[in-house]
């Protein structure tokens, strides 16, 4: 505080300022985000409703109000459905190996290594390679004269002159997925590693005393203890993995007539479709592109929630506190299933339609093995 005896008036000023400071400043400090979000987040989203319900062109601007016609148009386009299928296909092909590999790498890194920072950095290198560069490099590797195609031709698996990775739909998804696996496996491994290192070491000691081998320890101690982080990793994978654009656009180098997702849309993803509609050289359909954005946003939110639901169910089962031996569990589940199927059959024979399992008294087979959550979290 300023010395009170000499300048009483200034004290009043500074006190008034101080009161104002305490009241207003907290809001002032968080305001940049909200201003930015209002202008570049909220307003565009609201404005997107307007764009999606009008014809709209890059050069001509706003056209007539068309209601939901843009949505109907998009839903009639085979490209839209193809792009959704491609997106999910690439997502699935990239996510599963990525998660398994990341777990393995994290488990290998979770030891008392020499030069540990070196290995961790090495794992993270792909993360800082520019995605479009990765796409070009892998495009080369999977190309006609690259590393993979000639090898497979020598083995007699392919006879075509051109690279099947640019012809066949599924193989092009494999190639694009490999880029995503390359870029993010190490990153996810480090996240999982951090979680593994937070697992209390006494648990491993206890498991050793109980006679559990290293593999058994991994499944019985490590995995249940990092389940929260695994959910986090799977969720970020979902949100990022569905929005694939860079890899799909640059896979064929985007030279003349390239960058559109393949001659017959083999690797056209939904974001790339949106881009082509709105900003492609031969398309100028901002209204329809806005409709695609809405539909896609709904799909993403739906999928994120579904994923959250599924992973939490799986994880809570994994992390059950009282452990029943795997064989016992399997036997119990099999028994339940058999009982459910039998009663289902009996019901059907009796002419009563039931949903599988509801006829048995315990209902879902999992009901048996699930025990109340408690010891953890």
């Amino acid at each position: 505080m300023a010395p009170t005896s000499r300048a009483p008036r200034r004290v009043g000023m500074s006190q008034r300022f101080s009161r104002w400071d305490v009241k207003v400043s907290p809001y002032l400090y968080v305001s940049p985000f909200f201003i930015s979000f209002a202008v570049f987040g909220l307003f565009p989203i609201l404005f997107n409703v307007v764009v999606a319900t009008h014809t709209w062109h890059r050069r001509l601007g706003q056209g007539d109000f068309v209601g939901l016609d843009n949505f109907a148009w998009v839903l009639r386009q085979p490209e839209f459905w193809t792009s959704l299928q491609n997106t999910f296909s690439i997502f699935v092909i990239s996510t599963v190996p990525q998660l398994v590999l990341a777990l393995v790498i994290a488990a290998v890194l979770d030891q008392n290594l020499r030069t540990r920072t070196f290995w961790r950095m090495g794992v993270l290198v792909p993360f800082v390679v520019m995605p479009v560069a990765v796409a070009m490099i892998f495009g080369q590797i999977f190309g006609r004269f690259g590393l993979v195609t000639p090898l497979l031709q020598d083995l007699g698996l392919f006879t075509d002159l051109s690279s099947p990775f640019f012809q066949d739909r599924l193989l092009s998804h494999v190639a694009i997925s490999s880029m995503i696996v390359f870029r993010f496996t190490g990153y996810n491994a480090l996240i999982l590693l951090a979680a593994m290192q937070a697992v209390p070491r006494e648990l491993y000691e206890a498991a050793t005393i109980d006679g559990g081998g290293r593999l058994r320890q991994f499944f019985a101690v490590t995995l249940p203890n990092i389940r929260a982080t695994m959910i986090f990793v799977v969720l970020t994978m979902t949100i990022g993995g569905l929005q694939i654009f860079d890899e799909a656009r640059m896979y064929d180098g985007a030279g003349t007539a390239g960058g559109r997702g393949g001659a017959s849309d083999q690797w056209l993803t939904t974001v790339l479709y949106l881009f082509n509609l709105g900003f492609g050289d031969w398309q100028d359909r901002l209204g329809q592109a806005a409709a695609v954005a809405w539909l896609f946003a709904i799909v993403i939110v739906f999928f994120t929630l579904l994923n959250l639901f599924l992973t939490q169910r799986i994880a809570s089962k994994e992390g059950r506190p009282t452990r029943v031996s795997r064989a016992t569990t399997k036997a119990l589940v099999a028994e339940r299933r058999a009982a459910a199927a039998a009663s289902e059959r009996a019901a059907r024979e009796a002419g009563v339609a039931t949903v599988l399992g509801t006829a048995s008294p315990t209902g879902h087979p999992d009901a048996l093995v699930r025990t109340p959550e408690g010891s953890r979290r």
């Binding site: 300022f17 968080v30 290998v108 590393l147 960058g259 974001v271 881009f275 806005a290």
Partner: protein, 313 residues
């Protein structure tokens, strides 16, 4: 339990004793024997596995560099293998061809990318720390609701704003300008979340109160107490923001026409060097290189950032 391991963990004498016991056929066991990964040195299998992972991480870059070290002819002759196994001076010729090509202005793109990434990183760190300070250490009505709101905005897919923002920016006359790249990413929800989490743990209330008692204004408190305290998290956030901005491809391809950033060079390579894969891949290599150089110096920081984020996130 091998006597070598015992020697490593418990000293030479113990090792000698263990060997003697083993020679007599009696069981050998370390007192603290356990599979506790915290104190057990892994064997060569572990390092072999890690070496394989490292090889996979680096191979695409090596492959690209080998293309850059080859002539067009060498590339054409190489089927099913890299055109070379070791780098050559041809790389210099190829680099020269790239840097002097009239269609590609590398330095312009490099300068733009640096400018955008630096401005975006600095503003993101500043505004995020400011908001994080407010959310973690100050009291105000509606704090919790506002914070939850910020977290919730992270779930919004950014593609939802692409078309309307393009139309908005056309109206503002920002098409083909770096303003359009900088302004929307000056502060983000993730940064606010990150700094709030960090400051709520790392900055004691006592320090803030002490500054207040000494008559510092809130901003002064922020500037001289919170900002220095947040340095480790701020550095990580800056690094992540920089990488994100540097690699961003979607939004610049929507908004830029003649202006360039580094990723936008890549789609031009195929057109500029039709069919010459040696030059195209040299271009890819040059575009990917700057961030790798940064990584050599700041990779340690990035690693700890990724791992710190996991425990909090």
């Amino acid at each position: 339990m091998s006597s070598a391991l015992i020697e490593q963990q418990s000293g030479k004498g113990a090792g000698r004793y263990a060997r003697r016991r083993a020679a007599q056929g009696r069981p050998v066991r370390l007192a603290s024997q356990s599979h506790n990964p915290a104190n057990r040195r892994p064997g060569w299998v572990t390092y072999a596995l890690l070496a394989i992972v490292l090889a996979f991480s680096l191979f695409p870059l090596y492959y690209t560099m080998m293309f850059g070290s080859s002539t067009q002819l060498e590339v054409a002759q190489a089927v099913g293998r890299p055109p070379r196994w070791l780098p050559s001076t041809e790389l210099v010729n190829n680099l020269h061809a790239i840097f002097t090509h009239h269609q590609i202005n590398f330095w312009k793109a490099f300068g733009n990318s640096v400018l955008v990434a630096v401005v975006v990183s600095v503003t993101t760190v500043f505004f995020s720390t400011l908001a994080g300070f407010s959310f973690s250490k100050l009291n105000f009505r509606g704090k919790k609701a506002l914070y939850v709101f910020i977290i919730a905005t992270m779930a919004i897919p950014m593609q939802l704003g692409t078309i309307p923002m393009f139309i908005m920016f056309t109206t503002f006359g920002w098409i083909d300008s770096l303003t359009a790249l900088i302004l929307p990413s000056m502060v983000g929800a993730f940064g606010v979340f990150w700094m709030t989490q960090y400051l709520s743990e790392a900055l004691p209330y006592e320090l803030v109160e002490a500054a207040r008692v000494d008559g510092a204004s809130l901003f002064r408190t922020f500037w001289s107490i919170a900002l220095p305290a947040s340095r480790p998290a701020a550095a990580t956030l800056a690094l992540f923001t920089f990488v994100g901005s540097w690699n961003n491809f979607f939004w610049p391809s929507v908004i830029l026409r003649t202006e360039m950033t580094m990723p936008l060079i890549v789609p031009q390579l195929q057109g500029a060097f039709t069919g010459d894969h040696a030059l195209v891949m040299t271009g890819v290599f040059v575009v990917a290189l700057p961030l790798l150089v940064v990584f050599v110096f700041l990779g340690r920081q990035l690693v700890s950032g990724v791992m710190a984020g996991a425990v909090k996130g």
